[in-house]
């Protein structure tokens, strides 16, 4: 990518561009539900620890408690969401971001980028 001079970039035009709008919408469609989910699952766990300690202390198998099992699901959630976002961003968000930049930066217009977008969607 060429070195862009901040002052010559038409930021508003990029923001209005369909590529950028699609990037933002797709990223939001992934990040917002994920954030709501992880915060709810985490706060649900904390609320159970705070208000239902007896339930959390119940044994699932010998010394393994409900609380410890639910704690392990928090670890699992972090690992799964982390890897999922990573692959989603590599495959989907990064190419969209590149197209948004390429189509509207001060570089020579890159043929094919818009068409590629239309064909794909």
């Amino acid at each position: 990518m060429a070195d862009h001079d901040r002052s010559t970039i038409d930021w508003e035009a990029i923001e209005r561009s369909p590529e950028f709008q699609e990037l933002v919408h797709r990223r939001r469609a992934f990040v917002i539900p994920c954030t709501v989910f992880f915060l709810s699952w985490y706060l649900g766990f904390i609320l159970l620890c705070a208000y239902a300690p007896d339930f959390m202390g119940e044994s699932v198998y010998q010394g393994l408690t409900v609380g410890y099992c639910l704690a392990l699901t928090q670890f699992l959630m972090v690992f799964v969401l982390g890897l999922w976002y990573l692959s989603k961003a590599d495959k989907e968000f990064d190419p969209l971001a590149e197209r948004a930049i390429a189509a509207h930066s001060d570089d020579a217009p890159q043929p094919g980028t818009r068409r590629a977008q239309e064909v794909r969607s």
Binding site: I9, V78, L83, L86, A89
Partner: protein, 528 residues
């Protein structure tokens, strides 16, 4: 130098090894110092995997290692609750801030705020948030370092604090972010290796059956024991538990020394992968910590409580001593010395990161942008940053030495997380996502967040353990963790300040910040 009689020779040798490796790295880094970008951001050439390790090294303090293992040893499940909050927090960092910080920022979190807001007030507010968090966290770590080194090696508290401070300043001043990064990477590897070996030793005592470890731990309690496999043994007030949980999950995303790490990678993609690497290292570490905590309970039982000291901080080193063959044996002393060396490296890496972020707030934000209005040279800024680092370091050493062992470490760490979650986090997230957000909102939010977190901690029962009322607090405030009140107040300050002021947001620079943070167009480049 006053040296106590019971100096631990093995520990001194291991400390010397840790110090010589890190000083070697600092020397190597000092040869590669070229300017502000190297000093604050290691030339933005750190890879995703390296940064993931460095984030782990920056984040996992002695409180995470010895503190959580100790809490699990003393109280069981509640210690684990902290680990969960500390880990899940990285989802907040990943989804909301990591890539955007990399794309929009340069050296400090104030860069992101001042991008679209009026520079002087926005930078001042952000520098206030950064310095408040870094100061409390730094003093807590220094006091912790002094207490631990005194107990583990037998060096006097004040000397231990001064030594820790001197090495921390050495890394930062001569090697900047490049040396700090590698000190953090080395520490992360040592810490992971140490805890892995220790966990294997622990699991070996129960035939590699973790569930038997829980059973043994519970069987090793007496009537007066505080240990429980159920929550509530340590965090007995439900609303306080929720408040703590909130501060942990949002506070990490406002810690300046963690956010600063995202400026050291070449692009948003590396920032993203570094968070996921960090999740696996930190997650794996916290899982193993439970084996150490429950293992300490199962091996040492109630008899080990007194030797574990305040907060159970010495439970893990004592466990190492037992696993190595017991006190007086070569194996026991060696294992104890190794764990002490790991704890020492842990503290050094965290304090170096903290001093670096604080020096950025002073030199880059206050000196270069506010006092000199950007007319200073890059060379001058780096010199000022080094002077700032030295001053901050010396002040922290003095406060830690004068305050002594009596300073309440957990209260200061709690305060640092509360300020980060209530002041830095709301302002950053709103600056990056809310079109209408303006300077008045940012200043109101940061000030309200910092002030409410500090005030609520000052009146909390932890600080007033007197018996003249039920809670000890002079105004009858019962909450020990202010997050549940101060985080909404921080957001409220940002929102009300924005809506009630007549200032018009600078729409043009929001377009630029928005596009830049989402796509990386115009982001700071790596040095080549």
């Amino acid at each position: 130098m006053t040296v106590l009689a019971a100096i631990n020779v093995e520990a001194v040798v291991i400390f010397a090894i840790v110090l010589s490796i890190t000083l070697g790295v600092t020397y190597w880094a000092s040869k590669r110092m070229t300017g502000a970008s190297t000093f604050y951001a290691a030339g933005r050439q750190i890879t995703g995997l390296q940064n993931g390790l460095a984030i782990s090294g920056d984040y996992l303090s002695a409180a995470s290692f010895l503190g959580i293992a100790g809490l699990i040893f003393l109280y069981g499940f509640d210690g684990f609750l902290y680990s969960i909050g500390f880990l899940v927090a990285f989802l907040t960092v990943m989804f909301l801030l990591a890539e955007r910080m990399r794309n929009a920022g340069k050296y400090t979190i104030a860069d992101v705020l001042s991008f679209r807001l009026r520079e002087r007030p926005a930078r001042t507010a952000a520098a206030l948030g950064t310095l408040a968090v870094a100061a409390f966290y730094l003093i807590a770590q220094m006091v912790g370092a002094g207490v631990l080194i005194q107990a583990l090696v037998g060096i006097d508290f004040s000397i231990a604090v001064a030594l820790t401070g001197a090495f921390m300043l050495c890394y930062v001043i001569f090697g900047g972010m490049l040396a700090t990064t590698w000190v953090q990477i080395i520490k992360a590897v040592l810490l992971m290796a140490g805890i892995l070996v220790m966990s294997i030793f622990v699991l070996e005592t129960v035939g590699f059956n973790p569930i038997a470890l829980f059973d043994d731990a519970e069987a090793n309690t007496t009537a007066e024991s505080t240990f429980s496999l159920a929550p509530g043994a340590f965090l007995s007030s439900p609303i306080d538990t929720v408040s703590l949980g909130l501060a942990l999950v949002l506070g990490t995303a406002g810690l300046p020394h963690i956010l600063m790490r995202f400026f050291t990678v070449p692009n948003a993609r590396a920032a993203r992968s570094s968070v996921v690497w960090a999740m696996f290292f930190i997650g794996g570490f916290y899982l193993l910590t439970t084996f150490i905590g429950f293992g300490a309970r199962s091996v040492m039982g109630e008899a080990g409580v007194e030797a574990a000291g305040t907060g159970g901080n010495l439970a893990a080193p004592n466990l190492a001593l037992e696993l190595g063959g017991g006190a007086g044996t070569f194996g026991g002393d060696l294992f104890l010395a190794v764990i002490a060396g790991v704890a020492f490296a842990t503290i050094l890496a965290v304090v170096a990161g903290l001093v670096l972020s604080a020096s950025g707030a002073v030199a880059h934000d206050i000196w270069s942008s506010i006092i000199r209005k950007g007319r200073d040279s890059e060379k001058e800024e780096v010199v000022v940053a080094k002077i700032a680092a030295a001053s901050i370091g010396v002040i922290a050493i003095l406060i830690a030495v004068i305050g002594g062992e009596g300073l309440n470490v957990s209260f200061m760490v709690g305060l640092a997380f509360a300020i980060a979650a209530s002041a830095n986090f709301p302002a950053l997230v709103l600056a990056l996502t809310w079109r209408r957000f303006n300077t008045v909102g940012a200043v109101c939010g940061v000030v309200l967040g910092v002030v409410s977190a500090i005030l609520l901690i000052v009146v909390s029962p932890k600080v007033w353990p007197g018996a003249d009322s039920d809670t000890g607090s002079p105004i009858g405030w019962t909450l020990a963790n202010p997050g549940i009140v101060s985080i909404p107040l921080g957001f409220l300050g940002c929102i009300l300040g924005t809506l009630l002021s007549t200032e018009r947001a600078n729409e043009r620079s929001f377009h630029e910040l928005y596009v830049r943070s989402e796509t990386g167009l115009g982001a700071e480049k790596a040095l080549h």
